[in-house]
């Protein structure tokens, strides 16, 4: 009698485990209808190194921003309601914690390209109540605009001002003749930012700003010691923005 009950409980346990496991097992046995694009490029953790000895003028950076904004249909708004994925600023605003009164004149006068840092420890992801902002396993901090409710917690959370809010209807500030028909626009009331060009990585391309930078930006896998990114980091002196914020940016600046 005792034995019977034990057998029953054991069998019930196995059956329950079976039910829990079954759908996953089915998915992995070739039944899953989705897979990664065949020509996509992969990394354990994507990172970017920007050489500010080569890329340090407003004009050069504006050219890259133009490319980025054109392919992503980023609206062109003047003033404090601007929307930006890639922009530029002075040393004091870029590295406020690393300023000193006797900084090399030349470095101090450079202009620095800025974008979302795709932080390893991103506060924007932590505070987003809808998980519209999330971190992919490859480190990219992505946005699902379908889910954004425009609460702007992420903007308060980001120490780098990397996010823009769409105060108005974005399409009113876009040249509708020149839209990139391959990429959507956004709607009013959502936040947007640089996406490390996930849509390009998915088809085997490099980010658009990297491609347009003529070698001033290197992009690759931070976890691969043989990657170009790691090689540059080994050889050159680099800093990251606002280290005390503890967000561990994946964008590095060669000084």
């Amino acid at each position: 009698m005792k034995n019977d009950r034990r057998t029953f409980i054991k069998l019930a346990g196995i059956a329950a485990a079976g039910i829990a496991v079954a759908p996953k097992a089915m998915a992995s046995s070739g039944q899953s209808p989705v897979k990664v694009n065949a020509n996509a490029v992969h990394a354990k953790h994507w990172a970017m190194v920007i050489d500010t000895t080569k890329l340090h003028t407003e004009e050069k950076i504006a050219k890259l921003a133009e490319v980025c904004h054109a392919i992503h249909n980023v609206p062109n708004v003047e003033g404090n309601k601007e929307v930006k994925w890639l922009w530029s600023d002075a040393y004091a605003h870029t590295f406020p914690e690393q300023e000193n009164p006797h900084l090399s004149e030349e470095v101090h006068q450079r202009t620095f390209p800025l974008l979302c840092n795709h932080c390893e420890n991103p506060p924007c992801v932590r505070v987003c109540p809808t998980k519209a902002t999330y971190q992919r396993p490859d480190g990219i901090v992505a946005m699902d605009y379908h889910r954004c409710i425009g609460c702007r917690y992420c903007m308060a959370g980001c120490p780098y001002g990397s996010r823009s809010f769409n105060w108005g209807e974005p399409r009113k500030n876009l040249d509708l003749e020149k839209l990139n028909p391959e990429f959507p626009t956004r709607m009013r009331g959502v936040v947007e930012k640089c996406n490390f060009c996930v849509e390009r990585l998915a088809i085997g391309k490099q980010p658009a700003c990297v491609e347009a930078s003529e070698g001033a930006i290197v992009f690759g896998d931070l976890r691969d010691p043989d990657s170009e990114v790691r090689q540059v980091l080994r050889e050159r002196f680099t800093i990251r923005r606002k280290p005390t914020a503890g967000t561990e940016p994946s964008v590095y600046y060669i000084i």
Binding site: P33, V34, K35, V36, N37, A38, A40, Y134, R136, P137, D138, A142, D144, Y145, H146, R171, L176, L179, P181, E182, F183, P184, T185, R186, M187, V198, A202
Partner: protein
């Protein structure tokens, strides 16, 4: 007991009930006349991503899954029930065949009284004016 004003009361009741039922009676008349919208199907393509029945019933669930697979899981290639592969993209796959939103999407959506907000962001194949 004799009922005062019996006739007006009964007549009033009958009119009242007739009015109550009118929408249902008229409604059946209207629904009987309903015709399925005539969609403009793609010229070059015979088969959709999945069967006609599946798409008719479930395209919204499919698009919902597609969105999460592409954005969240980074998986952008979909294999259909027959083993054919498609790139997951409303704008770049669906709308490359269904090149006219007004002649396809809107027809059913208008009749069904739904206005999905896909086009607030995704660019319709005709482009924006």
């Amino acid at each position: 007991m004799k009922m005062h004003y019996g006739f007006p009361i009964i007549a009033g009741l009958l009119i009242f009930i007739a009015l109550l039922c009118a929408p249902f009676a008229m409604g059946t008349a209207v629904t009987k006349e309903y015709k399925q919208p005539e969609l403009k199907l793609p010229a070059g393509e015979k088969e959709c991503i999945e069967s006609k029945e599946f798409m008719r019933e479930k395209h919204m669930q499919l698009l919902n899954d597609w969105r999460d697979w592409a954005l969240r899981d980074g998986k952008r290639t979909y294999t259909n029930h027959k083993g054919k592969e498609f790139t997951i993209s409303l704008q770049n796959t669906c709308m490359k065949c269904h090149t006219n939103k007004a002649e396809f999407c809107d027809k059913c959506h208008d009749d069904a009284g739904v206005s999905p907000y896909c086009w607030d962001c995704h660019i319709q194949p005709e482009g924006l004016k």
